[in-house]
């Protein structure tokens, strides 16, 4: 289903200038429109850049320069007041004036900081609710509820669990033996760090508003639900239960849809995504290809084993592998995908061998229906979440 593009509304959307109904329409459109999502990323970058703009200080002698000019002007200006003061009358007046100036400037400074803060961000912190045991924010245990401020760690022991409300965009469940830190919360970006342990996130915001940093990759939410585990070695496992999540590290990116998982390793980054119902042999072969760098001699046999175990929906893995293998290996992966879903018009074997991004994207668009019905699922989830949200607001 097509709907009107929302590119012209994206700044207003990011900055909370739309009505809730307009925001809902933009969010829904973003979930299903690649073009508008690209523009959304551009606008978010523009906003982040503009936020770096500092307020400058006027020269300290500006008043000294201005005062004689004002005095001249005052001489010719008709006085409406019965009591016109000179600039300096007595030391008491000077003292009172300075004190007033300090008070006003301090007040304005505080007000200015408050005024600059978007209304949707409550003092840069998230509400944390205890679920079991005594989770800690910093060194302080939470008896019922607490606030996690930017820079603070939330930690659970073997007997405790917690739930975080991520502004108005979602919830994060923190399992036992987990350590997370709030890195940033702004209208254009919310970011957690998962040092170790396990968390489950349910996010109903537009794509790329919620991020989780791990020691070996960054998880970027594309909506809607997933779990993420990090072990003591910094390796992580992402399992997506609804929508899509991207795992990223530098130039390496894995797009993980519902029903799929992806592992990461410190120093390597995200591996290749795979459906969790793939065969054991398939998954073991993939793990060797992704992370066992000491087996170049058996790499070909491992890739053959993986291809032999592939099903149509495993083209998710094969499509990602195209950019991660070289030479004859890439040819074999190409042929394996083409055996399930031939490349569409405009996609050539030579182009894919050279990793032409446009061709890879075109082929991916054709493959995606076999991975999941992305639009229908995401849209249905989004609508459900929006209804939930609207309902909770009405209550």
């Amino acid at each position: 289903m097509f709907s009107k593009h929302v590119t012209k509304d994206l700044s207003a959307y990011c900055q909370g200038e739309l009505t809730s109904e307009e925001s809902r329409q933009v969010a829904e459109h973003l979930i299903s429109c690649t073009k508008c999502r690209e523009k959304f990323e551009e606008i978010k970058l523009g906003i982040k850049l503009a936020e770096q703009l500092p307020q400058l200080s006027a020269p300290s002698d500006l008043w000294q320069q201005l005062r004689p000019l004002l005095e001249n002007q005052q001489d010719v200006r008709p006085q409406t007041a019965t009591r016109t003061k000179s600039f300096v009358t007595s030391w008491q007046t000077q003292f009172a004036t300075i004190a007033t100036i300090v008070l006003v400037i301090t007040s304005l400074g505080i007000l200015w900081r408050y005024r600059s803060r978007p209304a949707s961000v409550p003092q840069g912190s998230w509400e944390v609710a205890r679920v079991d045991g005594t989770p800690k924010i910093g060194a302080t245990g939470i008896s019922n509820k607490g606030n996690l401020a930017v820079g603070q760690w939330l930690e659970t022991d073997a007997n405790s669990r917690a739930q975080i409300a991520v502004e108005s965009i979602g919830q994060v469940e923190i399992d036992p033996n987990t350590r997370v830190r709030l890195l940033q919360t702004q209208p254009t970006e919310h970011r957690l760090e998962l040092a170790h342990g396990k968390m489950s996130a349910r996010i109903w915001a537009p794509p790329r508003l919620f991020f989780v940093d791990t020691p070996s990759a960054v998880a970027a939410d594309l909506g809607c639900a997933y779990t993420l585990e990090v072990d003591d070695a910094g390796a992580s496992l992402l399992r997506v239960t609804a929508g899509w999540v991207a795992l990223e590290l530098k130039d390496r990116e894995s797009m993980v849809p519902a029903g799929a998982a992806c592992q990461t390793r410190r120093g390597i980054g995200p591996g290749t995504p795979y459906f969790e119902d793939a065969s054991e042999n398939f998954r073991q072969s993939l793990a060797k290809i992704d992370f066992d760098q000491n087996m170049p001699a058996t790499r070909r046999a491992t890739l053959d084993a993986l291809i032999a175990e592939s099903r149509k929906r495993d083209t998710l893995t094969l499509w990602h592998l195209l950019a991660r293998v070289e030479g004859n290996d890439r040819v074999r992966v190409y042929e394996a995908i083409a055996g399930f879903v031939p490349p569409p018009e405009g996609v050539s074997r030579e182009g894919v061998m050279q990793l032409d991004q446009q061709m890879l994207q075109l082929w991916r668009d054709k493959l995606e229906p076999s991975w999941s019905d992305r639009t229908a699922v995401s849209k249905a989830m989004a609508e459900a979440f929006w209804r939930l949200r609207t309902g909770s607001e009405e209550r």
Partner: protein, 192 residues
């Protein structure tokens, strides 16, 4: 934000503006202290980072304000009224100065001339790059960005200052954000 704005307005309206209208120079000093940095910031960004021009323009604005404040009747918010004056003064001065520049020549950018020691720090370099990029935007895209990010105004407040529709402000900010992102795409990793 609206609450804070209202409180600011209350301080300025109730305690200062009436006194300013009656010629109270001490009250005018308070007004000056409250707004000088914001007015100066807009002037600096409007004139390619040229602080001496911004200094002159800021003085002109406060001189004009000293007389014109008697005409303020409270039909609009004081800040709206003030920033309308600031925006118009910057546009007028820019037009005036452009007459003396050859065709095609833009306002000189002096931001890049000084190499302060702090430039070693990435954050300052980013801020400087953003300042330069914003200074190079067309006024109709630059001014809404300055009012948004220097003054912290809402779209509606910006629309009131600029005398245009809220939708126009949204459209111009959208274009301004896009331009910034395109010009400074290489900084994506630095601010993400």
């Amino acid at each position: 934000m609206e609450q804070a704005a209202a409180m600011t307005q209350q301080i300025i309206d109730g305690r200062v503006i009436v006194a300013c209208q009656q010629g109270d120079s001490e009250a005018f000093r308070l007004l000056f202290e409250a707004y000088k940095d914001k007015v100066f910031s807009i002037a600096v960004y409007s004139f390619g980072g040229d602080r001496s021009v911004a200094d002159d323009v800021t003085q002109q604005i406060f001189l004009k304000l000293f007389t014109a404040i008697r005409k303020f009747r409270g039909e609009a918010e004081f800040t709206t009224w003030l920033y309308r004056m600031v925006v118009n003064a910057c546009l007028d001065e820019r037009r005036r100065r452009r007459r003396f520049l050859p065709w095609g020549e833009t306002m000189p950018s002096k931001i890049g001339e000084k190499k302060p020691q702090e430039k070693q720090y990435a954050r300052l370099e980013i801020a400087e790059a953003v300042r330069v990029a914003i200074s190079e935007l067309k006024p109709k895209f630059r001014l809404p960005i300055l009012l948004k990010y220097v003054e912290g105004m809402s779209y509606e407040e910006i629309a009131n200052v600029m005398g245009c529709a809220k939708g126009t402000v949204a459209s111009r900010l959208n274009r301004g954000h896009s331009e910034l992102a395109r010009r400074l795409a290489h900084l994506r990793g630095e601010v993400s």
